[in-house]
């Protein structure tokens, strides 16, 4: 048994190192053919996302606090505001302490923005990319509501906390004290709905308004306010998360404030909202849709790997 603390050896086999390089070439060709420009943005930033459940790797840059970025989103939106052009970034992202068969604290994110697209159009492009990279992949899509109603018989937008708790406790053994609606929705996704997904690529769209993150919130065909956010799952594994982007600075400011209030309530460290992102929105961000896709997970699915370390040259235990 190799001791990860001592060995010089990579965690991935040589053919996986080759497969990654080949995947990057294919991704770059895909976007180059569509005239989407590759951009590079800082990994060390003075601000971090306000999302309560995204933990930061904090760095000390000669006495000034920096955050290793969990996504290139804010910087890319600033670029978009300054330079209206469809762009993508293929680079590293960081989330403190996330380690599992599908998580590594340092991972590779493909993020891209399409001017004039809404979430539905961007979903179509995600499908085209994944099918181009993994030919023969079966694709299906359903709304977040259909997903819950089909398998659990509850409407995730209108169910009360008590109803969600009862549904959750019927499937999951947990001390439910203090869990809110979003926690129960997430638990039902990770414990029940995700594992039951059919093989292939599945899009889930129209997320609950309470999970809008940076997506627009609009009424759906039944008049319920939903987030124009989608996720793609590949063989039951979360792969990509996209939005029809919020461009209204006032609402962005409110969401920062709501996140910070939630952080306070949970006893998590405060994160100031990025004033430069707000300045970009004040200046004006053209209507666009953006998505972030986990490249390591895509490579895992493409190569039939079951653990993320199989596709990383050196996983966290060997880094």
């Amino acid at each position: 048994m190799v001791d990860p603390q001592e060995t010089y050896l990579p965690s991935a086999r040589p053919e996986m190192i080759e497969a990654r390089a080949q995947l990057y070439r294919a991704i770059r060709t895909f976007f180059s053919e569509r005239d989407v420009l590759e951009v590079e943005v800082p990994l060390l930033g003075s601000h971090f996302v306000t999302d309560p459940y995204i933990p930061a790797v904090v760095a000390d840059n000669a006495g000034s606090e920096r955050f290793l970025q969990s996504s290139p989103e804010y910087a890319m939106k600033r670029l978009l505001a300054a330079m209206p052009r469809c762009i993508y970034s293929l680079g590293k992202a960081f989330r403190a302490g996330e380690r599992s068969a599908r998580h590594n604290p340092e991972f590779t994110l493909l993020e891209w923005y399409r001017l004039g697209f809404d979430d539905r159009q961007l979903m179509a492009e995600v499908r085209e990319l994944v099918v181009a990279l993994c030919p023969g992949t079966a694709v299906q899509s359903l709304s977040y509501r259909q997903w819950f109603e089909q398998s659990l018989g509850v409407d995730p937008h209108t169910a009360t906390l008590d109803e969600l708790r009862a549904t959750g406790l019927a499937h999951i053994e947990i001390d439910g004290t203090g869990l809110d609606r979003n926690d129960w929705l997430d638990l039902l996704v990770t414990h029940t709905l995700e594992p039951a997904m059919v093989p292939g690529l599945t899009f889930i769209y129209d997320y609950p308004a309470s999970q809008a993150a940076l997506a627009r919130v609009l009424p759906d065909e039944s008049g319920v306010a939903v987030a124009r956010r989608f996720e793609a799952f590949f063989n039951g594994m979360e792969l990509a998360n996209g939005y029809w982007e919020l461009t209204d600075p006032a609402e962005q400011r409110e969401r920062f404030a709501a996140d910070r209030a939630r952080r306070r309530q949970l006893g998590l460290p405060d994160r100031a909202g990025d004033n430069r992102l707000l300045a970009a929105l004040e200046h004006g961000l053209a209507p666009c849709a953006g998505v972030a896709l986990g490249v390591d997970r895509l490579l895992m699915q493409r190569e039939g790997c079951t653990h993320i370390r199989q596709v990383l040259a050196f996983d966290d235990s060997r880094a």
Binding site: E98, T190, H191, A213
Partner: protein, 190 residues
């Protein structure tokens, strides 16, 4: 008593849950991109033997269970208790039928066992992985049988019944895997 946070959970760690000592079998982080982190933990209840899954928030903690495994020698059974001795300290422990469980049918005096102590009392008795026991009853073998042939039941000196090849006879000593109850081979007599 030590306290463990869920992120410290590793396979083999012993913790108290709902008043019972449990062994961590597996701990998996579950974390949607935007959602709260949870841990799906598989535990074995050491009292009941039941393995089940429970989900914890990353900030939950559990107390450690005072559970230790010790090598001991089986002495004898008085019908109600099975008596064991630590060969180093000569300390003796009495295990009840619940702690001994299925191990009872493999216990031969002076064999080395692992006794799991919970608050210094036997909780689980684990027999050696391999034991050598004498066949006390089996139907006579048929002439010309070979090792490739069929099997027949044989009762061993401890009361266990295992499937043995047809050529084995009463008085032979067999080697058995106690985890599966499988016959491994013929052993030389003591």
């Amino acid at each position: 008593m030590a306290t463990y946070s869920i992120s410290d959970f590793r396979t083999g760690l012993k913790v108290m849950l709902d008043g019972d000592p449990c062994n961590i079998v597996e701990n998996e982080l579950v974390k949607p991109g935007k959602g709260q982190a949870f841990n799906r933990v598989k535990l074995r209840n050491l009292t009941s033997g039941r393995v089940w899954e429970r989900t914890f928030r990353a900030n939950e903690t559990l107390d450690s269970a005072d559970v230790v495994d010790r090598d001991m020698e089986y002495l004898y059974s008085d019908g109600e208790f099975w008596h064991f001795m630590d060969p180093d300290s000569f300390e003796q422990f009495a295990a009840d039928a619940k702690a001994v469980g299925d191990a009872a049918k493999w216990l031969r005096e002076q064999d080395k066992c692992i006794i799991t102590l919970f608050n210094n009392a036997p909780l689980v008795v684990t027999p050696p992985n391999h034991v050598e026991l004498e066949v006390v009853q089996t139907d006579p073998g048929l002439k010309g049988d070979t090792a490739q042939g069929g099997t027949k039941p044989a009762t061993l000196s401890t009361g266990a019944v295992v499937k043995v090849p047809l050529f084995m006879n009463q008085g032979d000593v067999v080697r058995v895997d106690t985890r599966t109850g499988e016959y491994l081979g013929r052993a030389s007599k003591d």
